[in-house]
Amino acid sequence: MARYETGFEDGRRLLRRRPERLAYGLLALTLVAAPWLLPAYHVGEATFILIMCVASLGLMTLTGFTGQVSLGQSAFVGIGAYIHTILLTQGVPLPLSLLLTTGGAALGGLLVGMPAIRVSGLHLAMVTMAFAIVCEHVLGRWKSVTGGHSGMAVPDPTLFGLSLGGPRAFYFLCLMVLAVVLLLLVNLMRSATGRAFIGIRDSEAAAQGLGIDVARTKVLAFSLSAACSGLAGALLAHQMQHITPEAFGLALSLQLVLMVFIGGLGSLRGAILGAILIGLLPSFISSLKEMLPARLGAQFGLELFVYGAVLTFFVLLEPGGLNSRWVRIRKVLAEFPWVRKSSTHQTKVYMKSERYR
């Protein structure tokens, strides 16, 4: 059956066509060259976004692929940041600490996931939200270990005696971590486990009927996403240089959920696009402010208002998320000279209850 094998291998290849390979190659080059092209501030922002990408990829596996909405992701980011900081202070070398942190967060995800999977949908969102609130509280109260609300200073990242604390070096550390995480997730998503995730999202009954161990797979997804978030937390700790519990509160959870949602559920690319959009918003807003007339720019609440407006705009007008827009653009580009006028016929849609999934 060699016929299928070749076809199939082609189908499974990551970058199928020449133009695609070219585009991604260019992207990689740009990312590598970026620290020299951008001013220092933007390198910092880019690093921040890379970190957010790692965290949002984690949530995407859970929410976008497995259909389990979690508002507790900030807790795992926090756990990661704290474990990593504590390990580093204890003198554990950076690579080992990153691994241990990832493992620790995965374990945390496992422990939270096991009871949490008993509920689903909005109930799950609420349980995980409660968990995040409790977790932040514990971080703030457990003074002997976490330094309480005054937080902890994060040691500089060093590798074999070399400091990675500078903006460029740290940018590359984050870029590398993101690349590895992305590659592993891409692999996972195109294999049996990834398909099982999607199956559970679309119909638990059918998934069960196909012999997928629903409980186990859900816990796995939880654990996986916690691991990514924890890893992101470790990097974030370096980015912040000083961590306090409030940094890992509900607001961060909401941001992450917004990233995967606005990026487009069920696509890793969406997670990254979402992280870029949401990650850039604050700086976008602050530069917007500078352009507005001083009276308006100085208004209190302007940030919040614009932030909300952008969210509303994207949720309303990009139902498939940024990813679907991207796919459409790519299609137009691919068919370029023959631009088909897509007839936009409004179809009526009806609310579907999700209460009996």
Partner: protein
């Protein structure tokens, strides 16, 4: 020249909570700073430079503050951070700023912790009194003068509450009495009945509050509602503000507070205070407020030394100037100076709301040198 020091312009930055839980307290702070800067610019700038203030939002979120400070340092290339707000945000960012050689002046935050986070640096100048030493002095005063025996503590979870608590405990430890009860709340909590009930259950006769505006009022009102007539309420400095009375009205009557700056009632105001208030009203079409005055003052102090540091401005020069400076502003109790990079002496006194006005109950002292 140094970062932010241009030919015609001096760029300063700050980060405030413009969209977070404490945004309510920001307009006055911002107005106070802005007013002084505008005045300086209207007078032709300082040493030939106009001043430009870049305001960023930290939403009281340390992580957002980190990014805001990154932007201020790297993109706007500010010369100094002027009066950034919030303990969490400042603790998380101060090291970053001073490491980059940016002066951090007068953060409105738990000073002790900010200093701890900053490490050994000459670039940090805190003007906010230490919550622990001032509160400690006030609690000692209360045990002496009000005869308080059992002390309870209601505090905001976070660095601010922690630091006030340290002061309360220090004062009690000196007396050899333990803290009778403590109850924490999170920013955003609306209901303080259980906190007060806890105090009541422990039978306290003095409740020390590490609270800001709304919570101070809520605690005071709850105490009144329950008719706990032998119980005194003492609020740490953030709750002791003109605003709490303006909003809390009757509920605030009789509450004690730890003073950090003068709150001038309109009819008792000095000429300087009156003209300042007039200027504020004109500029912002709003009633002036003690916090605004305080931040106006801090900005004044800063600008005064920028002028003294001369046209050839560098961080080092300004640090030297500041260390050598003395200052007494519209709202200062007394002349202040920086010693060991920190405001010294820490003038404070105990006040009480009497007929809708913060009224002195003790003399102004420096808690490090003498007790109230």
């Amino acid at each position: 020249g140094a970062a932010g020091v241009g030919d015609k312009e001096l760029v300063l930055g700050t980060h405030l909570d413009l969209s977070g839980p404490v945004a309510i307290a920001m307009p006055v702070i911002r107005n106070g700073i802005q007013m002084r800067i505008d005045e300086a610019n209207e007078a032709g700038g300082i040493n030939g430079r106009k001043l430009r203030l870049v305001v960023e939002d930290n939403a009281s979120q340390p992580s957002q503050a980190v990014r805001a400070v990154d932007k201020l340092i790297r993109k706007d290339e500010v010369f100094a951070l002027l009066c950034p707000f919030g303990s969490g945000p400042n603790v998380a960012t101060v090291k970053k700023a001073v490491d980059a050689g940016v002066i951090c002046f007068a953060p409105y935050a738990a000073s002790g912790l900010v200093r701890q986070a900053a490490g050994q640096t000459p670039l940090l100048f805190t003007t906010n009194l230490n919550y622990d030493s001032t509160t400690s002095a006030a609690v000692k005063w209360a045990t002496g003068n009000l005869g308080s025996k059992k002390v309870g503590f209601i505090y905001q979870e976070g660095p601010f509450g922690d630091l006030v608590g340290k002061g309360v405990k220090a004062a009690l430890a000196a007396k050899g009495t333990p803290l009778a009860a403590e109850a924490s709340y999170k920013v955003g909590d609306l209901d303080f009945s259980s906190h007060v009930a806890r105090m009541q259950a422990a039978g306290v006769d003095l409740i020390v509050c590490a609270t800001t505006t709304r919570e101070t009022i809520a605690v005071a009102a709850e105490v009144k509602k329950l008719g706990l007539s032998g119980v005194n309420v003492l609020t740490a400095s953030p709750g002791r503000a003109g605003l709490t009375i303006a909003l809390g009205k009757d509920a605030m009557e009789g509450v004690y507070g730890v003073g950090t700056w003068r709150i001038a009632a309109p009819d008792q105001a000095t000429a300087a205070e009156k003209s300042w208030a007039e200027g504020y009203r004109k500029r912002f079409k709003a009633e002036p407020d003690d916090v605004a005055a305080a931040f106006y003052d801090y900005t004044s102090w800063f600008l005064q030394e920028v002028r003294n540091a001369g046209r050839d401005l560098t961080a080092d020069k300004l640090v030297k100037a500041l260390q050598a400076s003395t200052f007494k502003g519209v709202s200062s109790y007394d002349t202040q100076r920086f010693a060991n990079n920190h405001i010294d002496p820490e003038w404070t006194r105990v006040e009480q709301v009497v007929q809708g006005r913060w009224t002195a109950r003790s003399s102004v002292v420096d808690p490090a040198k003498s007790s109230l």
